[in-house]
């Protein structure tokens, strides 16, 4: 594969995205056509890569040895790229309607589109250096999105987000230099680049480096106790919360952890060591903690944010099983949760957009007024809870299987945590359905479904979920094949 086809999905959205504020579109239609064509072209190119690309490393340039910017698309990248590039066009369509009454729309879509390219960069990185670079850039381009409202609350949230992310990156950087020092390279190789000689001499530092990097990248994946930025960042407009804080940004964190765990350190290096146990304990805590906080939270978007925190740790739990089955389960949950959570967030966004209500106790009886939205919400939340045959069921089953296969004490505790969390998930998601369907409507506003811009993406996500549930076993197999082919 040539250099251009791998670079285009990164360069096109970055360049054309940054040009939006320069063009400063005055007409809404012109802007929408422009943004949509950039996003669609990128998605199509990305999908072509997913289908055609062979895992070859393409070196772009070198800062200085061994700091090289290089790209490569392998199986894991393809999963992430496919997820992102399928969701982005629909999320953009939704954002057109949502941002209709907002100001500074040009700069919003500028950064929104740029983020697409940066995320692609994270997915196609061939070494730690490249991933770290895109990871830092991701923080920088998403800050303006969090800050979009520009009131004191959103500025505080953005500064919090910035502090957490840059702090996390500093942790990760520390691990990065230790690894590069000992290995002399930082390329991603399945099975890891840590040789047995290094383990003989420096085992302690290798574990230290892993823990530093796990929590460093874990900041974006909202691992307890570094989760605090995510609920606060909910002040951003809903397309941002939905796409970035449920999919692109947080899953970049999870993706980075997959990369370091399997492609830098290697499952064998970490298996059964302190490097596995400490992160695993925090991941299990996060799973239960996130769900419990979600039950307590009365603000719609913040409740879903806590739910995301919990679900991200499902992915990390799978990853930390350090087996092909665990990785498969993690990737499955990454994809499924991405689609389910974006649908749920978009429902919350639709409610806010149509009525301005943000709290759960304000939506009594909405179920029969916003029929389409709540139909989607019901399917999506049943899927997140994990009712068979909806997609959440497959991924949770795979997670539990991987944990059983692993078979040590922490894995069993983890399974218990998954079950408790599933129960709590049922409580915090279904209670909203109960309010919407089984309480009398009492608002004095007129409440109705939003227009097609918002409904079409929702239906598409629904279709995806149903597709996943019909072809669930095939997808599980397919994912297992990807992992075994790495």
């Amino acid at each position: 594969m040539n250099i251009l086809s791998i670079c285009f999905p990164i360069i096109i959205p970055v360049v054309f995205g940054l040009l939006i504020p320069v063009f400063d579109f005055k007409k809404k239609l012109a802007r929408e056509i422009y943004v949509m064509s950039v996003v669609c072209v990128t998605s199509v190119l990305a999908w072509i890569n997913v289908i055609n690309m062979t895992p070859e490393t393409i070196t772009l340039w070198s800062f200085a040895k061994p700091l090289i910017v290089a790209l490569r698309i392998d199986g894991v990248s393809k999963v992430f790229i496919a997820l992102i590039s399928s969701l982005w066009p629909f999320a953009t369509l939704y954002a057109f309607e949502y941002m209709r009454h907002e100001e500074r729309v040009n700069s919003f879509f500028g950064f929104y589109t740029t983020t697409f390219g940066i995320t692609m960069g994270i997915a196609s990185s061939a070494n730690l250096m490249t991933m770290y670079m895109f990871y830092e850039l991701l923080t920088l381009v998403t800050i303006p999105l969090v800050m979009h409202e520009m009131n004191h609350r959103s500025i505080r949230a953005a500064i919090k987000y910035f502090t957490y992310s840059i702090g996390g990156a500093a942790f990760a950087f520390m691990g990065f230099i230790i690894i590069t020092k000992y290995c002399g390279t930082n390329d991603f190789v399945y099975g890891g680049i840590i040789t047995s000689e290094i383990m003989k001499e420096k085992a302690g530092y290798v574990y230290l480096a892993y823990i530093l990097m796990f929590f460093g990248f874990g900041v974006k994946a909202a691992v307890f106790p570094f989760h605090g930025w995510l609920p606060s960042a909910g002040v951003a407009p809903t397309p941002v919360t939905a796409l970035l804080h449920a999919v692109a940004v947080v899953k970049s964190g999870a993706f980075a952890i997959i990369r370091i765990t399997y492609f830098i350190f290697g499952a064998q290096t970490l298996k059964g060591t302190v490097g596995e146990y400490i992160p695993l304990v925090f991941v299990i805590i996060t799973i239960v903690f996130g769900s419990s906080m979600a039950v307590k939270e009365q603000h719609l978007k913040r409740r879903f944010a806590y739910s995301t925190i919990s679900n991200l740790s499902y992915i990390l739990f799978g990853v930390l099983m350090l087996s092909p089955a665990g990785l498969t389960a993690g990737l499955l949950h990454m994809v499924f949760h991405g689609v389910m959570k974006i649908a749920i967030f978009f429902c919350a966004g639709a409610i806010m957009h149509q009525t301005g209500y943000e709290y759960i106790y304000e939506i009594n009886g909405f179920g029969f007024k916003m029929k389409k939205i709540f139909a989607v919400y019901s399917i999506a939340s049943l899927a997140v809870v994990g009712i068979p045959p909806l997609p959440g069921f497959y991924s949770k089953l795979a997670l539990a299987k991987a944990a059983l296969e692993n078979g040590d004490v922490l894995s069993y505790i983890g399974i218990a945590a998954l079950l408790i969390s599933a129960l709590l998930t049922a409580v915090y998601l279904m209670s909203i359905m109960v309010r919407a369907y089984f309480r009398p409507f009492e608002s004095d506003k007129s409440v109705k479904d939003p227009n097609a811009y918002m409904v079409i993406p929702q239906f598409m996500f629904c279709a995806m979920m149903i597709g996943f549930s019909i072809f669930g076993s095939y997808i599980c197999q397919f994912m297992a094949e990807i992992v075994s082919n790495l």
């Binding site: 340039w61 070198s62 800062f63 200085a64 700091l67 910017v69 100001e103 250096m129 770290y132 670079m133 830092e136 850039l137 920088l140 800050i143 303006p144 800050m147 520009m150 009131n151 004191h152 500025i155 953005a158 500064i159 910035f162 502090t163 840059i166 702090g167 500093a170 950087f173 520390m174 230099i177 230790i178 590069t180 020092k181």
Partner: protein, 488 residues
């Protein structure tokens, strides 16, 4: 080819004196043209040094065994290029900044004289010549600081003078202790080879490090820097922070690697105490910067911290650390000059000096604040901007030094904490400048003029360009490192 050395000294010396003669004769325009021409010429000569090979030039004999010599080696070339380039850029900037000023002739006169002494420092080939130029630089930079003639300026300038002279004398004391033994004065790559690790040498070295460290803002002699730098006019603060602090670094490089010899210091208490001092400075500087409310003072504290990154790299006494240190000298100069010039542009246009007044400045001065933002992000160390690379080499150097684990892992940890604080004290300014509540802080557009924008943009472009591609530079510095430290 020896002409190059002479020209690098004579042009700024003569032109500087001429500008001062023009004082009070309403010849400001002529003075500006002279300054610009001489800056361009010296810059051209500094580029030519790269094609000239190693040169030496004997000027005169002060006493029988104290010669006054110049020489050009790899290290001088880098510093000469840096000094003359920044001088040219800041010169262009200052034309606009000082346009209302009554005493421009004096400023430009001393500005050029400072360049003369800087070139002398970079090209000195023995310790006495170096010391002569170093002392004269202290003196000719004094009028730049006191230029505004306010009470604070006078106070800052005297503090500067006091500390600098005290530091220089401490260093001189050390030099006396060394030359007591009747040793050669010439610098030689890898050390002159007559020193051992005896107590006398070590004490002398420590005195010299602390003494010359004063100019570089090293704890415990740092206190003048945040007072003196901000009171000067912005172009002067920029070169003080960006360049003149680096002469302290150059002095320390010359002493450690070209005079005493790095091997003699390895593993001694001097290395450890020097390193601890640099780490204290790194942390303290960024902590104080974080707390500081006045814009230029915050930048000055940041200088305290960042120059000690460089000194930390030197204290590791290994090639990787050295490479990181020299890279950070160059990159920090570019970045800090940009930051100070942006601060100066804001002050020049709006007279706002406190950090909290900068809210919404992104709308008023977009170009200036974008340059500030890029430079600030670079200083935090985010790839692909330049300071990422220098920090990378510094940390690799720390990890590969043969010292105890506390230093090998503690050093990088301090640097990282400081990088976080850097993000806290610089990037938050940018965030507040661009992202403020509607209506409340929307300022009318009030962008700096062409010269100011030009200077900032040139440096910002370099910050990005050197971050993306600087393999030749790294190789060049690596060469120096291997010549002075062998295959260590």
């Amino acid at each position: 080819m020896n002409n190059i050395l002479i020209m690098l000294l004579v042009i700024p010396l003569v032109m500087g004196l001429v500008s001062m003669l023009l004082r009070g004769r309403e010849k400001t325009k002529l003075c500006k043209v002279l300054t610009l021409i001489s800056c361009i010429l010296t810059f051209a000569f500094s580029v030519m040094t790269f094609f000239a090979g190693d040169l030496t030039l004997h000027i005169w004999q002060i006493t029988e065994n104290i010669p006054f010599d110049l020489a050009l080696d790899d290290l001088s070339r880098i510093f000469v290029l840096l000094f003359n380039f920044i001088w040219l850029i800041v010169c262009i900037y200052s034309f606009e900044y000082l346009e209302e000023d009554k005493k421009q002739e004096r400023f430009f006169g001393y500005y050029l004289l400072s360049l003369f002494t800087l070139n002398g420092i970079a090209m000195s080939s023995n310790i006495m010549t170096f010391y002569v130029f170093f002392e004269s630089m202290t003196l000719v930079a004094f009028p730049l600081i006191i230029h505004n003639e306010t009470d604070e300026a006078r106070e800052g300038a005297f503090k500067y003078l006091f500390y600098s002279v005290a530091g220089a004398f401490i260093a001189l004391g050390g030099i006396f202790l060394l030359v007591l033994k009747d040793v050669p004065m010439e610098f030689k790559a890898g050390g002159v080879g007559v020193f051992g690790s005896d107590t006398m040498t070590l004490v002398a070295t420590m005195l010299i490090l602390v003494g010359f460290g004063t100019k570089a803002g090293l704890f415990p002699m740092h206190a003048w820097l945040p007072i003196a730098h901000p009171v000067a006019p912005a172009p002067a603060s920029a070169v003080m922070s960006g360049i003149i602090t680096k002469t302290g670094v150059l002095a320390i490089i010359r002493i450690i690697f070209y005079y005493i010899g790095a091997d003699n210091l390895k593993g001694t208490w001097v290395q450890y105490s020097f390193m601890v001092l640099t780490l204290i400075t790194v942390f303290m500087g960024s902590m104080l910067a974080y707390k500081e409310k006045i814009f230029k003072k915050r930048l000055a504290y940041s200088t305290v911290s960042q120059v000690s990154y460089v000194l930390f790299g030197l204290s590791l006494l290994n090639p990787l650390g050295f490479t990181g240190a020299i890279l950070h000298v160059l990159f920090h100069s570019l970045i800090k000059n940009t930051l100070f010039m942006s601060a100066g542009a804001v002050i020049h246009k709006t007279e706002k000096t406190e950090v909290q007044d900068l809210k919404g400045m992104g709308y008023a001065m977009p170009v200036t604040m974008w340059c500030f933002t890029i430079a600030g992000i670079a200083l935090v160390g985010i790839p692909p901007l330049n300071a990422f690379l220098s920090k990378w080499f510094l940390m690799q150097g720390a990890l590969s030094s043969g010292m105890s684990d506390a230093i090998r892992y503690g050093g990088p940890a301090v640097l990282l904490v400081s990088a976080l604080l850097t993000a806290g004290y610089l990037v938050t300014i940018s965030l507040r400048a661009f992202f403020v509540p509607e209506e409340e802080y929307r300022l009318p557009k009030n962008e700096a003029g062409f010269e100011m924008k030009f200077a900032q943009i040139v440096l910002t472009v370099l910050i990005v360009a050197l971050g993306v591609y600087c393999t030749p530079l790294v190789n060049y510095i690596n060469n120096i490192a291997t010549t002075i430290m062998g295959g260590m």
